[in-house]
Amino acid sequence: MKQIAKTELDTLFAAITAEQKLYIPADDSAGQAQFTLWRPGLALSGRLNTARSAKDLFFPQVENLVGFRMHAGAIERVETREEPEDFVIFGVRACDCRSFSILDRVFLSEPVDTFYQMRRAHATVVTLACTRPEETCFCAAMGVDAADPAGDVTCWLEDGTLLWRANTEKGEALTEKLPMLRPCPADAADAQQARTRALMQKLPLAKLDLSAFGAGKTRALFDRPEWASLSEACLGCGTCTFVCPTCQCYDVEEFRDGSSVRRFRCWDSCMYSDFTKMSAGQPRPTQRERFRQRFLHKLVYFPENNDGVFGCVGCGRCLAKCPIHMNIVKVIKTLGVTHA
């Protein structure tokens, strides 16, 4: 365990930046935290979490795949892939850090998504333990310990001091390059952890019961009549999907100008009416089916294919951002009540 005074964070960030790119949560012009490329003077946000999730750095909203160009009657392939540089992402919360492992299950299993794989390989994840959770947080219900996040390095911010613990080889390697980190007792974070854990238990959603969900529950949940009322107000926008740290669907599109084509992928949302639309039409014709797809995917289908792991990390972004305040918690609570 190492430590550094909070006042010296700039020195730490500068040292990291000297070697590689550094992203930290910083407030944007609208006052929300976003992962932002650090430059001298950029302050660490005081907010609990970023508005957009940390997945953006591994799975950006738009990514060029390949290009083609017509040239003198022939078609020429244009390489658009860019090898990313090493980067550090600092201040990842436990929930978002957990989301990486969920995304890894999707993108790093065969066939491996090399774009995602490349970014993961180049990244060092420095997490930051939570101390003041929001009422919308329910990570505990998803088995995430907000007081002890994973990552290559774990940090705690306590009384003007940043505590630093390297967890992995990558983490150690980074630590070695940062001489300003001074050693400290291994139990320096224990008190804070205990406080946080106690606080987590007091959150309104701490006791979220997930027993009705998980692998094998498709039949029990698929035709529940409550889907109709749950989805009736849904606008079919992609807000929940796009702020979600675990949503991983994308569409492949092309940008054409008549003589050249740029093929790119971009986030897609299962809430969109044209999601996976095919020549025969939409497989999920109404918002009810699309809504059901999203939540059953997170709560049933994903665990079914991934050793029981839920496709949700309890970050609470969808609770805060949904225009009509419909969210996974309401779904869990409504459908968690089993019929007699």
């Binding site: 290009g67 244009v78 940008f255 100008d257 740029r262």
Partner: protein
């Protein structure tokens, strides 16, 4: 910023088939010259011009877009240019609001008899846009890859 004295702006001119397109023809018939970087797209009436087309042109690399239609009151379809006038007024004002140089967009009423006005308008517009330089604000830079 690359300073290139040889740089010539790309100008898209949407011309009403009944007046300005004929006006452009007339300026051709009278050999009234205007720069070659003005390219005309024929539309049936100025009211056919969807703001989308203007933005599309800017997106694809145009540096200036001009709409030429019949003088108010002379529309082949009676009212088309009146609608176009309101639409373009609002659109241009919005583009200005977004910080796009307002001189990159223009509406000019040119009748079929005004070949000279057509050429003069185009010369002036090209000059204005050339002075503004490349349209960096609305152009999609990645398209040029």
């Amino acid at each position: 910023m690359q300073v290139n004295s040889e740089w010539k702006p790309t100008i898209v001119a949407f011309c009403c088939n009944w007046c300005s397109y004929a006006g452009a023809d007339l300026s051709g018939t009278n050999r009234l010259s205007y720069p070659a970087n003005v390219r005309i797209i024929r539309i049936p009436c100025s009211c056919r011009l969807n703001p989308m087309f203007i933005l599309r042109a800017f997106q694809r690399g145009a540096d200036g877009v001009i709409l030429c239609g019949c003088h108010p009151g002379d529309c082949r379809y009676t009212t088309g240019n009146y609608y176009a006038r309101r639409r373009m007024t609002l659109l241009f004002s919005m583009l200005d609001y977004l910080g796009i140089e307002r001189a990159r967009t223009r509406v000019e009423w040119v009748s079929a008899a005004e070949g000279a006005k057509f050429a003069a308008t185009m010369n002036d517009f090209v000059q204005t846009v050339t002075a503004l330089g490349e349209n960096r604000r609305l152009e999609d830079l990645r398209c040029k890859a």
